[in-house]
């Protein structure tokens, strides 16, 4: 059957050449969703295309988040930019600073001839992508939040009744696990996001000045000033000696540590739900992130990760009408609930959350609402509504590098945070210089 493919290729070329005759306005949408999620994205685009016949959304996979974003920027410089590009949360500051290249979603929706209410979005999700004046810059699409995954079987075996809710309980649980001969109690991935950014938001402490960068480019990091964070990281590093904590790499590289049963608990994105349920041969659950009782009595709220959709300048007004209609379709409770349930990302509108409740999704999949509950625990404060730092992709790498030296025993937690802060601040100044 493969020998017909050249013909298919030829047919595609011909149909492309013939495309203008169809008089449909084409909306280009570049995304970074590989695997099954990519298919889901295309399903959404097709759903929209079938719902009307004025516009045709072409969803294209352009590599991972970094590759996709750089491809869009390179395309913009060459005048070939797509209408919509998916950008991960840490690229927000870069996109925001690009006035003249980026069209705020608020403008797109306000100028378009449709009904739309930005308050329909979950506050903790929306606040991350909103100007201090309340204008929405980009459309939340796939958002998640870190949770604590636990291995129920192992906890039972060690006689731990409830998953730890505080760090003290965590270390107690570790002792109990070691009493039954199980070394590794916990690990985590995306360490900058989980253990620095979310830790600080969870305990209502600033990551940087100027409301975590929301209020101005002249922001400076403050994470090294948190004594309780420093002490906790040091305690974690020291606990490697008896095997309580095991470092398993950046991003989600440490997932095998959890699903193989080597580590009893794992802190990382709620979006790993599908992956874990596919692989884990034990009973597992998700709980909220542990609280450090030295730092706070109650948790504040966690912050999101994931990506949003940005609209780029340089197209006709008619095109933007199509973008607005597509966004409206995408935000509808049915599409969102389906996306949320299929992907493990949090529902981004309150209506989609309610719809999932009505459909009984959380009853048949217990724990899947942990992330959304964490996010909406309290009204976000300036410390917990998110962060907006320039060059943050690189800065996260710096934090990764310095923390890795901490885990390797080459420096103390205080040194690691201090160095990361100094190097990070230098990058913030670079960003300020080239964007003002």
């Amino acid at each position: 059957m493969t020998h017909t493919k050249p013909l298919t290729a030829l047919a595609t070329v011909l149909s492309l050449a013939a495309a203008p005759a169809l008089a449909q306005t084409e909306i280009n949408f570049w995304h970074a969703m590989g695997g099954a999620l990519g298919e889901k994205v295309e399903e959404i685009a097709n759903g929209f295309n079938e719902s009307q016949d004025t516009y045709s959304v072409v969803a294209t996979y352009k590599g991972n988040y970094t590759e996709n974003m750089t491809a869009a920027i390179a395309a913009f410089r060459a005048g070939e930019q797509p209408h919509i590009v998916q950008v991960f949360e840490v690229g927000t500051a870069t996109m925001m600073a690009a006035q003249g290249a980026v069209k705020p979603v608020q403008d797109v929706m306000d100028n378009a001839d449709i009904e739309w209410d930005s308050d329909a979005y979950v506050p903790a999700v929306k606040s991350y992508y909103t100007t201090p004046e309340g204008d929405m810059l980009s459309l939340p699409f796939n958002s998640s939040s870190p949770v604590m995954w636990y291995n129920q079987d192992l906890l039972n075996e060690a006689g731990i009744e409830e998953a730890p809710t505080t760090w003290d309980e965590m270390f107690e649980a570790a002792e109990k696990l070691q009493a039954i001969g199980h070394d590794c109690a916990f690990s985590f991935g995306w360490q900058s996001w989980v253990m620095v950014e979310n830790y600080l938001a969870w305990h209502d402490q600033p990551i940087g000045s100027q409301e975590n960068g929301f209020a101005g480019l002249d922001t400076e990091f403050q994470f090294a000033e948190s004594e309780d964070l420093t002490n906790l990281l040091q305690r974690i590093a020291d606990s490697q000696e008896d095997g309580t904590f095991k470092y398993g790499g950046r991003r989600g590289d440490s997932l095998p540590l959890f699903v193989s049963g080597e580590c009893a608990m794992w802190m990382n994105s709620s979006a790993y739900y599908a992956g874990i349920s596919e692989q884990a041969e034990f009973e597992f659950g998700q709980a909220m992130l542990p609280l450090n009782t030295v730092a706070a009595d109650e948790p504040q709220n966690s912050i999101i990760g994931g990506a949003t959709l940005w609209v780029l300048e340089g197209h006709d007004d008619a095109d933007y009408q199509g973008v607005a209609e597509f966004f409206k379709y995408m935000s509808s409770p049915e599409v969102q609930a389906d996306w949320h349930q299929a992907s493990g990302y949090v529902p981004i509108t309150t209506a989609a959350y309610e719809l999932s409740q009505e459909q009984g999704f959380y009853d048949s999949n217990p724990g899947t609402d942990t992330a959304i509950k964490q996010l909406s625990l309290n009204e976000p404060t300036p410390n917990s509504k998110g962060l907006r730092f320039g060059n943050y992709v690189q800065i996260r790498d710096v934090i990764n590098e310095e923390l890795e030296s901490l885990w390797a025993g080459d420096q103390t937690a205080a040194e690691a945070l201090q160095k990361a802060q100094e190097r990070g601040n230098q990058m913030l100044r670079d960003f300020e210089d080239s964007n003002s």
Binding site: A9, G34, G35, T60, P256
Partner: protein
């Protein structure tokens, strides 16, 4: 054999077999992974093939691949083939011609031309990728086979190797051709190109593999799935974000993607090896 030393012979074979085993092991593992279910692979790869081979390959070759986020594999293989062949043939043709000019003619700017070509040697496309992309976009070559291949033809390796080879061709041949009244193009066609046969084979193999294995460049210049190459497809499947990639299907695709370059190498092995030796001398 010069002398018979049974112990030494056994040691040799042991070392060779050990070496081959170690070197082929990762590929063997990829094959093994492609014959199991996704779940088996994720819980630690087994060492022996499983019973899912037909299911996995049937799924990859059939429509199944589209459900894990990649265009049909036949199309991707076809695109890779076009790209690899265009790069290979393009490079060989322009390099043959230009090194012929450099070696067999004296003309003003000859040295300048040679160095102009020469500085492009070795600098990989990744390092100059953004400015190159802008040029290709300005020329309107995005989403085309031309855009996929022509910018990668700009490299001097082949020119350099042909020059080295032409320098070793005896002058008597040129003189004889001139005595016979043969023009430069006739000499080129009837004598030089046939003499370069083994070098051509060696370069064909090296360049075909180079072209086939490109990843970052095709990713940047294509937005239309009908131009995706198979290496891009593998990366897309592996890059499943927070989901667990379906390693068994990815490995099946990787094995299929490996077959054409391996076939080229093995098919041209004899010529290739002779070519390597001659080029290098």
């Amino acid at each position: 054999m010069i002398e018979n030393r049974p112990v030494l012979n056994i040691v040799q074979h042991v070392i060779l077999i050990l070496g081959v085993t170690v070197f082929v092991f990762p590929i063997w593992l990829a094959f093994v992974a492609s014959t199991h279910t996704a779940r088996d692979v994720n819980s630690g790869i087994p060492l022996l093939p499983g019973d899912q081979m037909w299911e996995n390959y049937a799924q990859v070759l059939g429509e199944g691949l589209s459900t894990i986020g990649a265009p049909p594999i036949g199309l991707m293989l076809f695109n890779s083939l076009i790209m690899a062949l265009a790069i290979t043939i393009g490079k060989i043709v322009i390099s043959l011609l230009s090194s012929f000019a450099i070696v067999y003619f004296r003309f003003p700017f000859r040295v300048l031309a040679f160095w102009t070509i020469f500085v492009t040697l070795m600098l990989p496309v990744e390092v100059r990728i953004l400015p190159t992309y802008e040029v290709v976009a300005q020329l309107g070559m995005l989403n085309s086979y031309a855009g996929l291949s022509i910018p990668l033809i700009a490299s001097a390796t082949a020119t350099f190797l042909f020059r080295q080879f032409f320098m070793t061709v005896p002058d008597e041949l040129t003189e004889a051709a001139r005595v016979d009244g043969a023009g430069p193009m006739k000499f080129f066609r009837d004598i030089l190109v046939p003499l370069s046969r083994t070098n051509l084979a060696a370069l064909f193999v090296i360049l075909f593999i180079y072209g086939w294995n490109q990843y970052l460049w095709p990713l940047l210049v294509t937005t239309d799935e009908s131009y995706y190459t198979v290496v891009m497809g593998i990366q897309r499947m592996a890059n499943a974000g927070e989901e667990q990639p379906l390693w068994n299907l990815i490995m099946a695709t990787a094995i299929l993607a490996m077959l054409p370059p391996v076939a080229v190498i093995i098919g041209m092995q004899r010529l290739f090896v002779r070519g390597l030796v001659e080029t290098e001398k």
